[in-house]
C-alpha cells in the first residue's frame, strides 16, 4: 500500500514540474484558473458596470430633478435616446431605469461583490491552494463576461434595451407590441440573464465545495471567519434560488417566441385580441421573487460578512457574539426563502397569503436587528482605527439600520397598500441593500487591496471618498422617504400629470439630483485611487492591518497555490484581538495555544492537547507545496 502511494506521489510530482513552466500571457491573465486573477477580473468588470449603472441613474435623475431638461450635450452618448428637442424620450427613460436596476443588482452587487470576494477570500481565508475546480471557476467568469457583452450590446439597439423595470413583469415584457423595450432588447436581456445564472451556479458550486472540502488543518466551521460564513451562505442561497429565475426566464422566452401562454391570458392589444388564455402574470411574479427576495440577501450577506471582519480588525476587538452572528445569518438565509410574496401584497394575491407573508417578513427583522446591535457593541470599548475600510463598514452599518427600519413598515401589508411602488420603497431598498452592499464592496476593496496588488491605497483620498459618498447617499435617499409619503409613484417619467404631484417637491427633487451628481463624481476619486495605487501605491507590508486571518500569512504577492510551502494549520478562532495578557493586540489563527500560555483562557489550555492531532492531519495538501 505504501509503495503505491509513493509511486502515485512521485508520478504526480513529475507532472507538477511541467506545470511550473511560466504560463503564457493568455493563461495567466485572461483565461486564468487562478482564483486571485478571476477575483480581479470580477472586480474590474464590476467596477466597469458600476460606472455605467450609476451614470444611467444620474441621467434619469436629471430628468426627474429638472423635468424637460435639454440634454443636448449628452447627445454624443445618448443619441436617439433623446428626442428632437433634446429631452429624454419616455421610452428610454424606462430603459435607463430598467438597465440601472439590472446592472446594479446583478452585475455589480452580485457578480462584482460575491464574484470578487468569494473568489479572492475563500481559498486564502480557509487555507486552500485554489478553488475546488479552477476550470469551473474560469468558466463562471467567462459566462458572466458573455452575459455582460450581450447586455452591453443591447444598449445599442435601435429599439433600446429592455425597459419594463428590472423585474420584467409580463405581459409588458412578453409582448413586443406593448413597448419598445420588449422587442429585441428584451430577448437579449433574457439571454444575458440565462448566461448570468449559469455563471452564478458554476461559481456558487465552487464556493460551497471549497468551503466544505478544502479547509486547512484545524479550520473547523466554528473557526471560520464570518466573511467565509457569509460567502458560504450566499452561495447556498444563490444555488437554490437562481434556477427558479432561470425557469421563470425560460417560460417567458417560450411565451415570447413560441406562442405558449404561461403568463398570458385574455389580452387585447393594438386592436387585436390575442388567442392566449389560461396563463397568469402572477405566476411570473412568484417565480421572479422566489429568486428576487433571496437575491437581496445574496447582495447583502457578503457585505455583512466583509463588514464583520473589518470592524473586528479595526476595533481591535473580537466581533461581539460570533455565534449569534452565524445564527442570525443562518436565520436570515432560511427566512429569505419564505418571505418573497411581500413584494406582491397588492397584486391580487389571496389576502390570506398576504397575512402569512407579513408574519414571516417581520420575523426577519429580528436576526437583522441582532446583527446591527452586535456591530455596535463591537465598537464599544474598542480601539478604533479609522482606515477607509473601517469608515465604509461603519457607514454600511448606518445604512443597514436606516434602510432596514423602514422595512418594518413596508413588510406590514396594511401599510404597504399605500406605500407600494412609491418612492418610499425606492428609498428603503437603496439604503438597505443598494448603498450598504456597495459600501461592503468598497470596504472590501480598501481592506484587501494590499493583498490583491501588494500595494496600499491612498488613505487620505479614501477618507475624502468616504465622506462625500456617505453624506451624498444620505442626501439622495433620505428625502425620497418624504416624496414617497406624499404618494409619488416610482418609474414615472414626469410628475406633471397629477394634481397631487404637480408643483410639489420640485425643489427637493432637484436637490436629490444635485446630490446624486456629486456622489457619482466622488466615485472617480476612488477610481483614480484604485488605478493609481495599483501601479504606484506604497508597497504593502506583510500584514498591514495586523489581522488574524490566514490570508495575511501568505506572501505579499501570493503566487499560484497561495503559500510557497505547507499551508499553515489553524488553532484558534479569527477574533483573538486585544486578548488580555497577550503581548500584541492580535494573535493570528495559525498561532497555537501552546505558544501563548500567557493569554489562554482556561478552556483553551485544554485545547493544547489537540494541537498534535491537528498538526498531523493532512487532507488537502499532500505535497506540502504549491502544485
Amino acid at each position: 500500500m505504501a509503495t503505491v502511494e509513493t509511486n502515485l506521489t512521485s508520478s504526480v510530482h513529475v507532472e507538477e514540474h511541467e506545470h511550473h513552466e511560466p504560463q503564457s500571457f493568455w493563461r495567466k491573465y485572461i483565461f486564468s484558473e487562478d482564483h486571485k486573477t478571476i477575483a480581479k477580473q470580477y472586480l474590474i468588470s464590476g467596477i466597469f458596470w458600476a460606472v455605467i449603472g450609476i451614470s444611467f441613474s444620474v441621467i434619469f435623475r436629471l430628468q426627474l430633478g429638472f423635468p424637460g431638461i435639454k440634454l443636448e450635450f449628452l447627445r454624443p452618448i445618448l443619441g436617439h435616446y433623446l428626442n428632437e428637442s433634446g429631452n429624454l424620450d419616455p421610452d428610454f427613460y424606462l430603459a435607463l431605469v430598467t438597465m440601472h436596476g439590472t446592472i446594479m443588482v446583478f452585475f455589480v452587487l452580485t457578480a462584482g461583490l460575491s464574484g470578487t470576494f468569494s473568489n479572492f477570500l475563500i481559498p486564502l481565508q480557509v487555507g486552500a491552494r485554489d478553488m475546488a475546480s479552477g476550470f469551473l471557476n474560469m468558466l463562471s467568469y467567462w459566462f458572466f463576461f458573455l452575459a455582460s457583452v450581450i447586455m452591453f450590446a443591447s444598449l445599442f439597439l435601435e429599439s433600446g434595451p429592455a425597459a419594463g423595470g428590472w423585474v420584467v413583469y409580463p405581459p409588458l415584457s412578453a409582448l413586443p407590441q406593448a413597448h419598445k423595450g420588449s422587442e429585441l432588447g428584451m430577448t437579449l436581456w433574457l439571454v444575458s440573464m440565462a448566461l448570468f445564472i449559469v455563471s452564478q451556479l458554476l461559481g456558487g458550486i465552487n464556493y460551497i465545495t471549497t468551503v466544505i472540502n478544502l479547509r486547512t488543518r484545524g479550520m473547523s466551521f466554528s473557526k471560520l471567519p464570518l466573511t467565509i460564513w457569509a460567502f458560504f451562505l450566499t452561495a447556498v442561497l444563490g444555488l437554490i434560488s437562481f434556477p427558479v429565475l432561470l425557469s421563470a426566464a425560460l417560460l417567458l422566452i417560450f411565451d415570447r417566441s413560441f406562442g405558449t401562454s404561461f403568463y398570458l391570458s385574455e389580452i387585447f392589444i393594438n386592436g387585436e385580441a390575442l388567442p392566449n388564455v389560461g396563463g397568469s402574470p402572477i405566476l411570473f411574479q412568484h417565480l421572479f421573487w422566489f429568486l428576487g427576495h433571496p437575491e437581496v440577501y445574496i447582495v447583502m450577506l457578503p457585505a455583512l460578512g466583509i463588514t464583520s471582519e473589518i470592524i473586528a480588525v479595526n476595533s481591535r476587538k473580537p466581533i461581539f457574539g460570533y455565534r449569534a452572528m452565524i445564527a442570525s445569518m443562518l436565520g436570515i438565509a432560511f427566512l429569505a426563502f419564505i418571505v418573497w410574496a411581500h413584494h406582491m401584497f397588492v397584486t391580487g394575491m389571496n389576502p390570506f397569503l398576504g397575512s402569512i407573508f407579513m408574519f414571516l417578513t417581520l420575523i426577519i427583522a429580528v436576526p437583522s436587528a441582532v446583527k446591527a446591535f452586535n456591530y455596535i457593541t463591537t465598537l464599544w470599548r474598542g480601539n478604533l482605527r479609522f482606515t477607509p475600510a473601517m469608515l465604509f463598514s461603519i457607514g454600511l452599518v448606518s445604512f443597514f439600520i436606516s434602510g432596514g427600519v423602514t422595512g418594518i413598515i413596508l413588510g406590514n401589508s396594511a401599510l404597504d397598500i399605500q406605500l407600494h411602488d412609491t418612492y418610499f420603497v425606492v428609498a428603503h431598498f437603496h439604503l438597505v441593500m443598494g448603498a450598504s452592499s456597495a459600501f461592503g464592496l468598497l470596504a472590501g476593496v480598501y481592506q484587501w487591496f494590499p493583498k490583491m496588488f501588494g500595494r496600499m491605497m491612498n488613505e487620505k483620498l479614501g477618507y475624502i471618498h468616504f465622506w462625500f459618498t456617505f453624506i451624498g447617499i444620505y442626501m439622495v435617499f433620505f428625502p425620497m422617504h418624504y416624496i414617497g409619503i406624499a404618494g409619488f409613484p416610482r418609474r414615472y417619467y414626469a410628475f406633471t400629470s397629477y394634481e397631487f404631484t404637480k408643483n410639489v417637491f420640485s425643489d427637493l427633487n432637484s436637490f436629490v439630483t444635485i446630490a446624486a451628481i456629486i456622489t457619482f463624481s466622488a466615485q472617480f476619486l476612488f477610481l483614480f485611487n484604485f488605478i493609481y495605487s495599483m501601479f504606484r501605491g506604497r508597497r504593502s507590508p506583510q500584514n498591514p492591518w495586523k489581522a488574524n486571518t490566514l490570508e495575511w500569512t501568505a506572501p505579499i504577492n501570493p503566487g499560484h497555490g497561495n503559500w510557497p510551502g505547507e499551508i499553515p494549520a489553524v488553532y484558534r478562532w479569527p477574533y483573538d484581538y486585544s486578548k488580555p495578557g497577550a503581548k500584541e493586540d492580535f494573535i493570528p489563527q495559525n498561532v497555537p495555544y501552546s505558544q501563548t500560555p500567557e493569554s489562554n483562557l482556561p478552556h483553551e489550555n485544554e485545547l493544547i492537547a489537540l494541537e498534535k492531532e491537528i498538526e498531523a492531519q493532512n487532507f488537502n495538501d499532500q505535497f506540502k507545496q504549491p502544485h
Binding site: L94, Y169, A178, S265, E266, I267, F268, I269, A273, V277, P281, R316, F320, G321, R323, V346, T347, G348, S355, F359, L362, A365, V366, V370, A372, I376, G382, N383, R385, F386, I394, S398, V405, I409, N412, I417, Q418, H420, D421, N458, Y463, I464, Y474, P479, Y482, G487, P489, R491, Y493, F495, E499, F500, V504, L508, I514, Y532, R536, R538, P544, S578
Partner: protein, 376 residues
C-alpha cells in the same frame, strides 16, 4: 430650499478644492521612487483618526438637525388626512410604526457614531476583550421580537378588515386599465349590476368587450374621464386590465390594487369626504381626487390619470340618470342581443331601433310598446 441647495453646493465646492489640493500633493509625492516597504506601514495616523472620529459626531448632530428641519419643511406636502375610514386607520398605524422605527433609527445611529468617536484609537490603549454576553443578546433579541409582534398584530387586523369581503349593499364599478388610460364601467341607472364581458368582443366602440347577451349589460355605461361615486357608501372596485399590468392607485383614499389581465382583482372602500368637502377643507377650489397607475405599463405610464368625483347621493343619482347607456349610444350592438332579451333591451334603444328581427315582437311586454309599434 434654494438657499440650502446653494449652501450645500458651496460646501461641496470647498471640499472639491480640498480634494484637488490633496490630489496634487499625492501626485507630487510619487515623483520620486516608490518608498520601500516600511515597518511602520500599519502605524495609525493619529491626526486623521481624530478628524474622522470627530466627523462622525459632526455628522450625527448636523444629520439630526437636517432631518428635523427637512421633515418639518416637507410635512406640508404630505398627502392630507385620508378620505376613507380604512385609510385613516392605516395612516394611524403608519405614524405609530414610524415613531417606533424613528426612535430605533435615532438611538442606534447615535450609538454607532458616538461609540465611533468615543473609542477612537489612542496610543497604548487596549480594547476590551468582550466576545459575548448571552444575557445582553437575549434582551436585544426579545425586545425587537415583542415590538414586531405588536406591529404585526395591529397590522394584520387592519389588513384583514380592509381585505374582507365587500358588504352586500356595495356600489359596484369596474375599472379597467389599458395603455394608457382607465375605463370605468358603471352598472347603470337601473339594475346596479355590472354586465358580463369578454375580451374577444372588444372593438373601438365597445372598449370593454361588454357582452350584450347578458341583460345586466343593457343599462351599463362607461367613461374614460371620471369615476363618480356616492359618499359614505361602500364602493367595490372590480379591477381588471386589457393588455398589460396596471395598478389602481387612489392616493387620497389609500387604495391600491394591481390590474391583471386575465385575473380580475378587487378593492372595496368607503369614501367619506366629498370632493366639495375636500375643496373647502384644503381651501383649494381646484382640488380633485385622482386615480393613478403604479405598475409600470409602458411609455405613457406616468400619465394614466382619471378623476374621481365623490358626491352626495342626490347629485350622484342625478348624474347617473343623465348618462347614456352604451347600448343607446351604439344601437348597432342590439344585433348581439339574444331574442329572449330583446324586450328588456328595447328600453335602451332609440325610437327608430333597427327592427331586423320581427320575432322579437311577440316576446315584448309592456315596456316594449315603442318597439312593437314600429313593427306593426
Amino acid at each position: 430650499m434654494v438657499y440650502i441647495v446653494g449652501l450645500l453646493s458651496l460646501v461641496f465646492l470647498v471640499l472639491t478644492i480640498l480634494v484637488i489640493a490633496r490630489l496634487s500633493k499625492v501626485l507630487r509625492g510619487v515623483n520620486g521612487a516608490t518608498p520601500a516597504v516600511e515597518d511602520t506601514g500599519s502605524r495609525v495616523d493619529l491626526f486623521s483618526n481624530r478628524i474622522n472620529g470627530a466627523m462622525f459626531i459632526v455628522f450625527l448632530v448636523t444629520g439630526i438637525i437636517g432631518i428635523v428641519w427637512s421633515f418639518l419643511h416637507a410635512q406640508q406636502y404630505f398627502l392630507p388626512e385620508a378620505s376613507s375610514p380604512h385609510g385613516r386607520r392605516v395612516d394611524g398605524l403608519f405614524w405609530l410604526s414610524m415613531a417606533i422605527v424613528t426612535a430605533a433609527f435615532v438611538i442606534t445611529n447615535a450609538l454607532l457614531f458616538y461609540f465611533a468617536w468615543k473609542y477612537q484609537y489612542r496610543e497604548g490603549k487596549r480594547a476590551t476583550y468582550y466576545p459575548e454576553n448571552h444575557k445582553l443578546e437575549l434582551i436585544w433579541t426579545v425586545i425587537p421580537a415583542v415590538v414586531m409582534a405588536l406591529l404585526v398584530f395591529t397590522g394584520w387586523r387592519a389588513w384583514r378588515d380592509i381585505m374582507s369581503e365587500a358588504p352586500a349593499d356595495s356600489m359596484m364599478y369596474e375599472i379597467v386599465g389599458k395603455q394608457f388610460n382607465w375605463i370605468i364601467h358603471y352598472p347603470g341607472a337601473d339594475d346596479n349590476k355590472l354586465g358580463a364581458f369578454n375580451y374577444k368582443l372588444i372593438d373601438n366602440n365597445n372598449e370593454l368587450g361588454l357582452d350584450f347577451s347578458d341583460a345586466a349589460t343593457f343599462d351599463d355605461f362607461t367613461s374614460t374621464t371620471e369615476l363618480h361615486i356616492p359618499v359614505n357608501k361602500p364602493i367595490l372596485l372590480k379591477i381588471r386590465a386589457r393588455d398589460v399590468l396596471h395598478s389602481v392607485f387612489i392616493p387620497h383614499m389609500r387604495v391600491k390594487m394591481d390590474a391583471v389581465p386575465g385575473m380580475p382583482t378587487r378593492f372595496w372602500f368607503v369614501a367619506d369626504k366629498t370632493t366639495d368637502e375636500m375643496r373647502n377643507l384644503l381651501n383649494n377650489q381646484d382640488f380633485t381626487y385622482e386615480i393613478a397607475c403604479t405598475e409600470v405599463c409602458g411609455r405613457g405610464h406616468f400619465s394614466m390619470r382619471i378623476r374621481l368625483i365623490v358626491e352626495d347621493e342626490d347629485s350622484y343619482n342625478k348624474w347617473v340618470s343623465e348618462q347614456k347607456p352604451l347600448l343607446t349610444t351604439f344601437p348597432e350592438y342590439a344585433s348581439r342581443i339574444p331574442d329572449n332579451l330583446k324586450g328588456k333591451a328595447a328600453k335602451y334603444l332609440p325610437e327608430a331601433a333597427p327592427a331586423e328581427n320581427t320575432t322579437a315582437a311577440t316576446m315584448v311586454e309592456g315596456g316594449g310598446a315603442a318597439a312593437s309599434a314600429s313593427l306593426h
